[in-house]
Symmetry: C2
Subunit: 189 residues, 2 copies
Amino acid sequence: MKQETRQEEIIRVAAKLFKEKGYSAVTMRDLATAMNIKAASLYNHINSKQDILESIIISIAEKFTVGMTSVLASNATCIEKLKEIIALHVEISSQNIYGMAALNHDWMHLESQLNHYKKLRSDYENDFKTILIEGVNSGEIIDIKPDVMMFSILTTLRSLYLWIPKKEDVNLKELTNNLNEILIKGVVK
Amino acid sequence: MKQETRQEEIIRVAAKLFKEKGYSAVTMRDLATAMNIKAASLYNHINSKQDILESIIISIAEKFTVGMTSVLASNATCIEKLKEIIALHVEISSQNIYGMAALNHDWMHLESQLNHYKKLRSDYENDFKTILIEGVNSGEIIDIKPDVMMFSILTTLRSLYLWIPKKEDVNLKELTNNLNEILIKGVVK
DNA sequence: CAAACAAACTAACAAGTGTTAGTTTGTTAG
DNA sequence: CTAACAAACTAACACTTGTTAGTTTGTTTG
C-alpha cells in the first residue's frame, strides 16, 4: 500500500469539498482549514487552485478513455459491450466519488486543459454511439435515435457518484447487475 | 402575451449565465454586463443575488410538485403514471432549460430556502418510489430495488436540460415517445 | 554536528466581491 | 407644466479572493 503524499492528500480533500459546494465556491482558505493548516502553506505542495482541478478531472477522464479503448478492442456482442461500459462506470465512479462530482459539475472551470477535456469527452461519446449504431445495424438493439439512447444511458451512468455513497451497504456487483437489467431491458415486466 | 418585467428579464438572463458557469462563478458585474447596465443598477429590480437563485429554483421545484400531485391523482396504471412523469419532465425541462441547470447544480447554494427545496425534492422522490413499488406489487414492473430503478430513470430525466438544447430540431413529442420506450422497455430488441 | 529538506508559519498584495447611498435622466400621468 | 416614477448612473464600502515573499521549525541524512 503506497503511502499518500501530502500533495495527493490535498487533492483528495479538495475533491471532497468541490463535491459539496463546487469549485468556485471553495476557497483556498476553506481547503486549508479542512487540512488544518493555513492557506499559504498549501502552496508548498500545489501550484495553484486550477492545478488541483486539472489533476482531479483529467486523471479520471483518462481512466474512462482507457476503459473505452479496451471495450472497443473486445470482440463481444454490442449488448455485451454495453454491459462492459456499465461495469466501467460503476468501477470508476465508486473509486472516485468526489472526483466524479468535479468532473460532472466543474469541467467548465478548466482553463488550459479545457480543450483537452472536451476532446476526451466527445471521443468517448462518439465511441459509445458507434457501439449503439452497430447494435442497431445487427438487430441487437431497437431502432431508435442512437443519440437519445446514448443520452439516456450515459446520463444515468454519469450520475452514479450522486447515488452510490447514499447506500453504503450497496453491493457493487448487485448494483451493476441491476443497472444491466434496467438500462438494457427496461423496467417493464 | 404578457410583457416581461425588467425583474423577470434579469432573472432569465441570470439563469442563462448560471447554466454556463454556475451560481458562484457568476458575479453581479457579469450579470450587469449581460444586461448592458452597471452592477449597482441591478438592485433597482432585485434584492440580492441569493433572491435570484431562489426565484429560479423554487418556482421550478414547485412546478414538479404540482405535476406529481396530478399524476398521483390519476387512476391510471403504474406504467401509465411513469409515462406521465416522463412527459412532465420533458415539458418543464424544455420550457426552463436554464433554470433546470441552476436547480441541478446550484441548489446547495440556497440559504433560507434550502430546507424548503430539500423537502420538495425528497417528497417528490418518495412519491416516485411509491409509484414504482405499487407497480412491483401489481406485477407490472420488474422486482428490482425500487431505489435503483428510480435513480436510473430520474437522473436521466433530471439531465434532460443538458441535452434538449443541442438538437434544436428535436421534436418534443418524438423525444417523449423515445424516452418512454427506452426507460420502460430498455434498448434491447 | 552540519547540511538539507519538508512543511508549516506570518504578513501582505492587488484584484475582485456583493451591496449601499445618493444622484441623474428620460418618460408618463394629472 | 409639473409631479411622480422607472431605471439608469457614479462612487464608495467592507470584505474576500488567490497568491507571493520571506521566515521558522522540526526531522532526516551524510
